[in-house]
């Protein structure tokens, strides 16, 4: 069946304004990444879009699906270096095949497995979320610039420092010997819970950020990482670790942000991070959360405080 005349290229019947974003969402694709010596087989959810000029009725959306098929499907045989490099390729191709567009965006998220463990003998795959974005702009002279972002989310646990002190006081009234200085460092009961923390780098220029290091930063900022395999003694060790590092979501966020200058020395001052953290409070039916956005310049200025 030969194609009909191009309905999309017509003028819109009404409301002739440029639209900021028209595209596909919720499209799932398998993407293979080769990193270190290992292939990661990701199932990615993509959102891809371009803007639409005021004189055009529709965006050629089938091109978006074709681009994804060409670039992503091909990784099955030829893996790419990273999810964010795939996003950059896609955003450039979006601008190439939508000549009427001046802006394009790609957002990608994918589950990501790393072998982790409380000890080498108990390593097993833990699941994380990878995040990548690319935003392209076509300048007046036709040159395309691409802004990239890359990040990850990790699930760990937090133990509440406030309830811990309240319980210490209450139990000391009941067990006066706990007032003895030898118990000053005894970790006391508190509420603890799953915490999801996300860190995304808005990259400046060619800065490369290693997502495994992003995940390491996230897990170091929580009260404790968590693991699939924990034998009885190990459970105690995770619980102790969490209660020796009791943290509000505010603490998780600040500890995370404060760790970044040292952990990512190569990031330029203009590199900006978005960080957010959610604790699924065990003592409430709702969540507690905190979020921030700051440049490395700002983070470096407050470093050590």
């Amino acid at each position: 069946m030969p194609p009909a005349q191009d309905v999309h290229a017509r003028a819109p019947s009404r409301g002739r304004l440029r639209l900021r974003s028209v595209g596909l969402s919720g499209i799932r694709k398998p993407l293979s990444v080769q990193r270190g010596g290992r292939a990661h087989h990701l199932a990615v959810t993509f959102r891809v879009a371009v803007d639409l000029p005021s004189d055009r009725k529709g965006s050629d959306l089938s091109r978006n699906a074709e681009i994804l098929a060409e670039i992503v499907d091909e990784t099955a045989t030829r893996p790419v270096a990273s999810l964010e490099s795939a996003c950059s390729s896609i955003v450039r191709e979006l601008l190439a095949r939508h000549p009427y567009a001046t802006e394009a965006s790609v957002e990608a998220s994918a589950e990501y497995f790393l072998r982790q463990g409380i000890s080498d003998a108990k390593r097993s795959f833990e699941d994380y979320t990878l995040l990548a974005e690319a935003r392209g702009s076509r300048g007046e002279n036709g040159t395309v610039t691409v802004a990239r972002a890359v990040g990850a989310e990790g699930i760990g646990m937090t133990a509440c420092p406030c309830a811990m002190e309240t319980c210490r006081e209450a139990l000391t009234r009941e067990y006066p010997l706990l007032a003895d200085p030898q118990f000053a460092s005894l970790p006391m009961i508190s509420h603890n819970q799953r915490n999801r923390t996300r860190l995304v780098f808005e990259l400046d220029g060619d800065t490369a950020i290693e997502v495994d290091e992003v995940i390491a930063a996230v897990e170091a900022a929580q009260s404790s990482p968590t693991y699939a395999i924990l034998k009885r003694g190990d459970e105690g060790q995770v619980v102790l670790n969490a209660h020796r590092h009791p943290k509000f979501v505010e603490d998780v966020l600040r500890d995370l942000l404060a760790s970044l200058p040292e952990r990512f020395p190569g990031a330029t001052d203009a590199t900006t991070v978005r960080a957010s953290t959610v604790s699924e409070e065990s003592i409430h039916k709702y969540n507690v959360e905190a979020s921030h956005r700051a440049s490395f310049a700002e983070l470096r200025a407050t470093a050590g405080r």
Copy 2:
């Protein structure tokens, strides 16, 4: 526009077998219930279905939506006694308006708010889930029998008894004085987390079950209920309560089941309960869960063990 000839009433073109269930799902309706002195305004998700004989192409699905509109919409001005009584009315009407059907089912779930608090001064609305089902059968002589189920789900918290003992041993090695008998009852740190527990009664005959009592049973079986408003001292009290009642999901389930004969003395031996409980483990990224189904006869036979 006058209706076309009835496509649904034709013979199926292929595969002439009776289908067990054809219906609507995910339909949302506001339903008003008058209980005690108070009106509850529920937003209910309904699933309604009937079977379909082998000689009929389609089910008259618009009748399902009409029945819901008539019975449920009307409660806006004339509240019903309960969600389950609305389900019973709907199931009877389904069989009345689908004369070719021999079975009908209604499943309903709705968020439900109760004012609760750790103290009277801190009461606030806490959210629960109401569940109701009705299944109708048309007998050979045309009489309709209806089996009803009613239940609820509540979110509370559990603290792990095993990690608590492991931590007690580990901390006693570090703080030998903890071995002193006076500390035998000192609650020790453990992992704790959100727990969702659900209890559904498959009712026998006219037995009535009060859902607020179902919620009370669920919350009593968890390590502790949880609350929206907790000032600093209250947080400690909930944490202490949970750590003084450390429970595996197995314990939650057994304590819940064991409590039922005394809590619901009017339930007949043939009344059957389905119970399930899920703990969103703080030390793992996955959940732990347990489920059971038993008649009151069985529960009474094991009572006191």
Copy 3:
């Protein structure tokens, strides 16, 4: 149990930077709104947050839950005028009870039922989503300014104008008589699907926006509204209506935006709208979407084009 010393008020141990947002999310509350002659009983999901100065370890989150309880729970006996007015009250109270905060935000969403129908005899409750936001800032002199937003999302359907033309051409090759001018306006088969369209007004000053009118604008911009109760003839009428108004997501968005100056004459030029629309494509496993943000000044400038 008397409260412990205030852990939140201490200095943070590390990372002394101001955090943009700390608060609660996913908290559910029943809220009663009195509008026209009718009470609407909403179950609202709230997200409430304030910023946190660099010298303070934690935010007094229990105050957030108390504020919600006081303002929202009270509507059970004394309904408020609208969801957005409740958000404004909450945001002011957040700044009052977090004296260290300079910014506060409230986001609320709730299911909302309206009686609608393809004809008066077939009216029934249809479900929509209400959206409201309030953002408060404390100025240098202590005065609080509040920016409000209000909107709604509605589900309708779209029919694709491009596939319709392709099918017209294909069927005309097969049935040459269809080329006869009398059939020029015959609606042809196309793919059609659920469409979710959202429109949010960032209010300027005291502008009031009626959410029922927002919903009317959304439904008028889709190919057709949809209904719970449709008898056979009605189904045909909805299908015809949709195919007589075939629309891309781009068309839905532009028709919606173009309709606003006339529909909301009282909105000031500085009033800004965010609009987005998603079609759950029947011919793909993924969605197609478009979004835009524009001021009424911009909308008025393009009106009539």
Copy 4:
């Protein structure tokens, strides 16, 4: 830290009844399957459980995570033949390592990508869902029997046969020439939508079922399969295909069931299938669904009717 004494092995404090199911849910694992010449890298959600005798307080849940790590993680280097064979191995290991258990169950679901296309030049990965289950029982003499199930879910589209006839009548009144016999087979407008159809085989003995064939059966029963890449002409072809095969959910289910005896000739009479289908109605805000369960003996008895 050496393990504490085994809390799980103690007697329960209350409610000494056997629990039907205790285990893990929502645990994610990467699993590699080698099929045909190709490796499939699945991200699987597992639910694994065993029963618990009345005299034991808790189930050794860490063993479940260890089994998954050993069997599933190992497939990263040594792929297995299928998801269901992994489930069988896991269920046997559950009974081996929970010597007190008499029943074990594994449920697994995973996204699955197949290269499909409306033509060879437009092939791209389409996403499906794989489903597998294994249930093991330990007999009196200690022998373990395992019942397996395997299936898949596919998204396609349905077009409504009833609205199509209503529209034909309405349009014929408006365009009388449509009554001409030459137009009897002209496909008319109707509502169409995403349809999700699921088919699971409860396997009898060693029967092997090829999941790609399950997916083929599902897609053949819908009005049309759907594709990621559709150029303008292709869209028309899919729309035409769907409207030439208009189907209620009842038709999808019956056509699917009727096709099975011929499509799976090797299935024994005792092989039983569970089939369900959901259409996300474009003209309603709710879904329409149908489900059935039947043995191949029953399906063969009605074949050809």
